[in-house]
């Protein structure tokens, strides 16, 4: 073994003066081909397990998937999710604003709210709301120790639906408040200072400058919460509200086709989750403006650029 050889690798590869002309190619490594093999095996196994497996009972699944009962349960799930998500996000915005406000009392109240909700399992929360009448027989609006302006029996207000919505939105309110707050904290201080220097109001600063940056960073976490919400709706079966999961449970308690009926529910949850993820990726694209890589063509002169509009 001579050091002479290792010092001159060109001796092995040929004339070194020609090396720079050789094209560059990435080698296809073994791991690359193996990954295809693994993928193919998993696909075949999954196909055998799901499609060819007679125990799965696809005909039953097919006959129930679009049945009136299942669809009406599905619609209830969607209704609760949409209403609770909307209310929960608004609540979360308010709580986050309070937690970031200049008033110590409001900050403390918001912090206690988040603390209690985070500590309480969603199931317990929904039961508490549903049985609120036991704690508070009437709901009234007014100052403490004075005659209320307005009073109703709690049981008139708390239906299965409203208990579900109140419980779920209180839940999302606490979790999304933390996500919003984290989003605000993630914005570089210089963005607020630049907005101040331009004379933008707080509202303009949030809607035009930092808001889009916040949405960009919180979208993945928020999408997570919304997807969780679809499935958390199944918690409301404890108070007898008939949503998707409760519906299939009622059905299989009669026809004993447990697995096919649960599969029906899972298929719909898959569809709903896919929709949520689609929304997520659109949001990410929209608010990734200026962050995602792209290639810009430099315009030749200023006056041609003046007329151009951006399309994306």
């Amino acid at each position: 073994m001579s050091t002479h050889e290792t010092l001159e690798p060109s001796a092995a590869t040929g004339d070194e003066t020609a090396l720079h002309t050789l094209p560059i190619r990435d080698p296809k490594r073994l791991a690359h081909w193996l990954s295809y093999a693994v993928g193919a095996v998993v696909l075949v196994l999954a196909f055998r397990f799901v499609v060819l497996n007679p125990h799965w009972d696809w005909p039953t699944i097919g006959s129930w998937l679009f049945s009136r009962r299942v669809v009406s349960g599905l619609l209830n799930t969607i209704l609760i999710t949409v209403v609770s998500t909307a209310a929960g996000l608004v609540l979360g915005l308010v709580v986050a604003a309070l937690r970031l406000s200049g008033f110590a009392v409001l900050r403390a109240m918001a912090a206690v709210y988040v603390w209690i909700i985070r500590a309480t399992p969603g199931l317990v929360l929904i039961l508490f709301v549903y049985f609120l009448a036991a704690l508070m027989p009437t709901l009234s609006l007014g100052l403490p120790f004075a005659d209320p302006f307005f009073e109703v029996p709690t049981n008139q207000v708390i239906s299965q639906f409203s208990a579900a919505v109140i419980g779920l939105s209180a839940y999302l309110g606490a979790y999304s408040a933390e996500i919003f707050r984290g989003g605000v904290l993630s914005v570089h201080q210089g963005q607020f200072e630049a907005s101040h220097s331009l004379g933008l109001s707080a509202w303009q600063t949030y809607t035009k400058v930092v808001g889009p940056q916040i949405i960009r960073v919180i979208t993945p976490s928020l999408a997570n919460e919304v997807v969780t919400m679809f499935k958390n709706t199944s918690l409301v079966s404890v108070i007898g509200y008939v949503e998707l999961l409760t519906t299939v449970q009622l059905v299989y308690s009669q026809n004993f086709k447990t697995i096919p009926m649960l599969t029906v529910a899972v298929i719909w949850y898959l569809v709903l989750t896919s929709l949520a993820m689609l929304g997520q990726s659109r949001l990410e694209k929209r608010f990734g403006r200026g962050f995602n890589r792209r290639v810009v063509k430099s315009a030749v002169s200023a006056d041609t650029v003046g007329q151009e509009e951006r399309h994306d």
Partner: protein
């Protein structure tokens, strides 16, 4: 004939807790003049600019723009902060350029420059875009109007930031170390733009460590230390013949 100064600081004080960041700073800027603020790190230069621009609330003294006290209003035997709306109107008199540019990442160069005019000055969108293109052309960025900040070099970003400040038609431009975040070869392009603005007669207050640049464009150089002004005067006097030993040592340390 006594000319009213454009900007006047009288005994400005700023504390952070027990720490005195500005300790009775008085300074006068006449219209059309360039003042360079120099001094060691931590001497309170940024704090001074931020106080003028109402990013920090002063604890004593006052800042007057054309005779109007900024940020506060008299209320009997004391002063109280002005309403936010009034403060915003006052802030727009200043164009601030930051060391770290602070461009808005999701907006293109044009949109960054047009934002203030559209939202605050209520200029029509197409008019604002047109003005933005003119300003970007003026700072040498005619071919970068549709780029996002992340697609621009540091020097280009800082020139967009200067165009953005100009778009608000400010009375005074404030620069806080506009070239400190830039690589050496990008410094010149930004300084050239600032020099051009000086020649056009803009009133400017510039925090800088570029002493040669200060000597070149300043009408007055002000040196700060520990929250106080320790020297001020025409650049040749201050930079070449500083009276205090401290100033002499500072200039010796920066110019190497």
């Amino acid at each position: 004939m006594t000319e009213q100064p454009l900007l006047r600081l009288r005994d400005v004080e700023k504390r952070f807790g027990d720490f005195v960041a500005l300790d009775g700073v008085s300074l006068t800027l006449r219209a059309g003049t360039v003042t360079c603020l120099v001094g060691p790190s931590g001497s309170g230069k940024s704090t001074l600019l931020r106080t003028v621009n109402l990013l920090e609330r002063l604890d004593g003294g006052a800042v007057y723009l054309r005779g109007e006290m900024l940020g506060f209003t008299r209320s009997g035997d004391h002063r109280r902060p002005v309403p936010k709306k009034v403060a915003r109107r006052q802030v727009v008199n200043f164009g601030m350029v930051f060391q770290s540019f602070n461009l808005i990442p999701q907006l293109t160069a044009t949109e960054n420059v047009a934002l203030g005019p559209v939202e605050v000055l209520r200029v029509g969108r197409s008019e604002a875009r047109h003005q933005a293109h003119e300003l970007l052309t003026r700072v040498g960025l005619a071919d970068r109007v549709d780029h996002y900040p992340a697609e621009l070099s540091g020097g280009q970003q800082q020139r967009v930031a200067i165009a953005r400040a100009l778009a608000m038609k400010p009375s005074v431009l404030l620069f806080d170390e506009p070239t400190s975040a830039l690589d050496a070869e990008l410094v010149a392009e930004v300084l050239a733009v600032i020099k051009e603005l000086a020649e056009e007669g803009f009133t400017m207050l510039i925090v800088t460590h570029e002493l040669a640049f200060a000597r070149d464009i300043a009408d007055e150089v002000v040196m700060m230390e520990d929250g106080r002004i320790i020297e001020s005067g025409p650049p040749q006097d201050i930079l070449l013949n500083p009276t205090t030993e401290r100033a002499r040592r500072f200039f010796a340390s920066v110019s190497h």
